[in-house]
Symmetry: C3
Subunit: 362 residues, 3 copies
Amino acid sequence: MSPLLKEIRHNPMLWLLAFVPVVFGAARLRPAAHTLLFVLSVLAIVPLATLLSHATESVAAKTGDAAGGLLNATLGNLTELVIALTALRAGEYMLVKASIAGAIVTNTLFMLGASFLLGGLKHHVQEYNRVTARVQAGLLFLATVALLVPSAIAAADSAEKAAIVQDLSLGLSVLLIGAYALGMLFSLKTHKEFFASAEHADDGEAPWPMGLALATLAGVTVLVALVSEIFVESVQKAAETFGMSQAFVGFIVVALVGGAAEMASAFSGARKDRLDLSVGIALGSASQIALFVAPVLVLLSYVIGPTPMSLQLWPGAVVMMLFATLTASMVTNSGRSAWFVGVLLLMVYSVFAMTLYLLPPS
Amino acid sequence: MSPLLKEIRHNPMLWLLAFVPVVFGAARLRPAAHTLLFVLSVLAIVPLATLLSHATESVAAKTGDAAGGLLNATLGNLTELVIALTALRAGEYMLVKASIAGAIVTNTLFMLGASFLLGGLKHHVQEYNRVTARVQAGLLFLATVALLVPSAIAAADSAEKAAIVQDLSLGLSVLLIGAYALGMLFSLKTHKEFFASAEHADDGEAPWPMGLALATLAGVTVLVALVSEIFVESVQKAAETFGMSQAFVGFIVVALVGGAAEMASAFSGARKDRLDLSVGIALGSASQIALFVAPVLVLLSYVIGPTPMSLQLWPGAVVMMLFATLTASMVTNSGRSAWFVGVLLLMVYSVFAMTLYLLPPS
Amino acid sequence: MSPLLKEIRHNPMLWLLAFVPVVFGAARLRPAAHTLLFVLSVLAIVPLATLLSHATESVAAKTGDAAGGLLNATLGNLTELVIALTALRAGEYMLVKASIAGAIVTNTLFMLGASFLLGGLKHHVQEYNRVTARVQAGLLFLATVALLVPSAIAAADSAEKAAIVQDLSLGLSVLLIGAYALGMLFSLKTHKEFFASAEHADDGEAPWPMGLALATLAGVTVLVALVSEIFVESVQKAAETFGMSQAFVGFIVVALVGGAAEMASAFSGARKDRLDLSVGIALGSASQIALFVAPVLVLLSYVIGPTPMSLQLWPGAVVMMLFATLTASMVTNSGRSAWFVGVLLLMVYSVFAMTLYLLPPS
């Protein structure tokens, strides 16, 4: 148990783990205090996501390149997946869809922008591997386009034929998962040199022993699932109290909370002038949401949801996702960044957040 | 006649020529068997398109650089043009428009994607001339944007003022043809070095004698026109039988059939690691549709169509064309490709096809 | 007074200054001759804008790098700002918004396109600093996206909640001006090497003495304001006479008139094979409109306008701005240009102009 404790002592973010028992206690004692439960569950999920990410990396480091990469690629967005699954089971499809769209936008605008800004405040100009970034941005753009086709076309044609959109979403999900499987073959086997620098660096930290890592992985996933249930139950009422729409909560709050661990890695990479790492995490994670998390949720909605869920998003989300991935492509195109590029990315993100706050989808 | 026969023996695709008499016979004997006629006419057009393409290249090779290039650039999409003209004369404007949009999307997604995939299965990473590809992708993007302006603006403003859109289409067609003429001056005269590698390579095949080439060109064009008539007549009924919308037929079937010959060249280039050739054919052919075929059809609709045809497309087609050309720009930006890039392009194409199949334009 | 007179004798465009007294005389004698007043005021604004631009550069040259750059960046679009302010005070919000959108589109398509064409007619292929152009195009794209968010989302969601869009516009304006201030810190202080080549070259002309420059700056601004009043009053009636919509006037006429001075610099740079200068002026000026002029007008509408003005544009303008900035990004991506690229940019601009002329926003 010593590496886990050492890690907790070493990493201030993990001190938030104290909120995990607190949120369970509060849920039992004050089940109606939605705002309190919402805040506590957010504070509890962040350190759990960090632990989950470390455990995944430790298992990945032990199991060797291909299997480890596979694990990392599949479990890298485990927190987002567990939260979305809980919302899915509760039938909160708006929250699920908003969190998918939000995760892509947050990764490409906020995570990338803050990495550029934090890195740029320390280094005058930062260069990164342009070729790799272009391949990754191209993949992300294609993944997002595929994901958006039903919404874009349905929106453009203002067709409300729900049944057709549902069939389309199902077919698309199968295609996306197929592309994801081929993508893993590509990035882990045939062309791993393109993705080499995006490996989660261990920075001299010794990986945990296998048993501890697996136990942490299992235990923490259960904890995230339990806290997520409190989070999803409380979020709607709490959002009303704060004057936030469900779209805002899913798009901004869930995406920031769920991606906290990856952001910590990306920001630390940027500060160390290893921007390849930051760009790789941001674009890779966004691609994974589009190609894996979103279709898995659609397929699972047939099993665990009250009704099947489609991939149709509200038009504002389509616009935001397109702008975000186009922006990511434009910005990573030059292979160099400076602090102001980060400022502009964060500004576009703020504009989106402000819009969602003020203009909830009807 | 020997080079033509040798070519036919050599190239298995030309064995399909046997279907040309079959389709004429079937049209006479079973004029109501629409599905059969549809399938037979598709099988007959593919080898005719291949012959047409070889004849054009042979004439071009004999007449020297500038005139040959001019010929190639004008007749490169002759099959598409003849099919569209037949549909135009029959007043099937939906089919005409769908085949214009579909040819651009099919060239940029399917032809490029399959080239990347087929080339990538044989070669680890393929590099091509990035500068040339960027110039070509830039031209294609501008050509498509110009073509889309009336639809995009009409759609955005939901203005249904048919007369204005018609005037706009007419003015735009004149502008596009002017740009096309200047573009030939550019690519054949002042800056031909940019387009050099995109020449249809003859790969050691001796070009046909001039007389044979010209006779083939004339004769096959007539045959294509005759088969197109059967195709256009049967396609609507056959589509109903297969449960396909007219949009799907124009967008996917006509585009694949009409472009079969160019695809064969592009794929063979990719297998030989001559991706410059494949990218040049795909992007050049798409530009030609936008700058030449589309406006010529609008102008001819005043002469041979029942009523003038506008350039206004249905919104879904606008979205698909924009996505396709943006994608082509993004993807050719890096100047290198691997098999998975091809998979993703094909996936986006499949998504479009699936959408058109399930969600016909209202 | 001699440098000013020498400049006037030297520069034929300044001979148009003769129209300044003429327009004032005509406004007094024939206040109802709207078409005449419109033409005269256009002819008077063009030389005034040129003088204003020279005076700004002279003051900037004297005050040293940082302050001079600040001045140039703030007053570079002074003519556009003064015209828009006059229209704002008169409550002509459609004209104001059209001139904002039009200035961005005109700078990125017409100014850039004509520079490429004029330069390309003299030089076979022109190269310019690709890295700088990409950074500038990236900034422009982000600035435009931020500006467009309210319109794009409102359009997509077809929400007509005027009050919310107004709040959003106000918040966005504050964000944009903040980003603009940081952008000046970036381009004048921390990373000025990226923008070095875009300095307005004085080409051996001695800058004017400080007193003369300041007096010209003040005097000419007043003259522009006075002429603008006649222009804004007459434009609506004159437009009707010419069959032009207000959108067309704002988008095309005001943008061309207001940007005349910058265009002269950009075109002369292109002829001298200094395309970095032309690209820098075109993209920089467009960014400045989006990040500075537009939000300043929104904020000032609270003080001097009859009612607050929002940033919501009509959907056609959104489409055009997006196409224009995407195009600028694509086209400057390769770092080289030839005459045909200019032709295509001008063609897209003509298509926009034709569309606005034929299809006025409802």
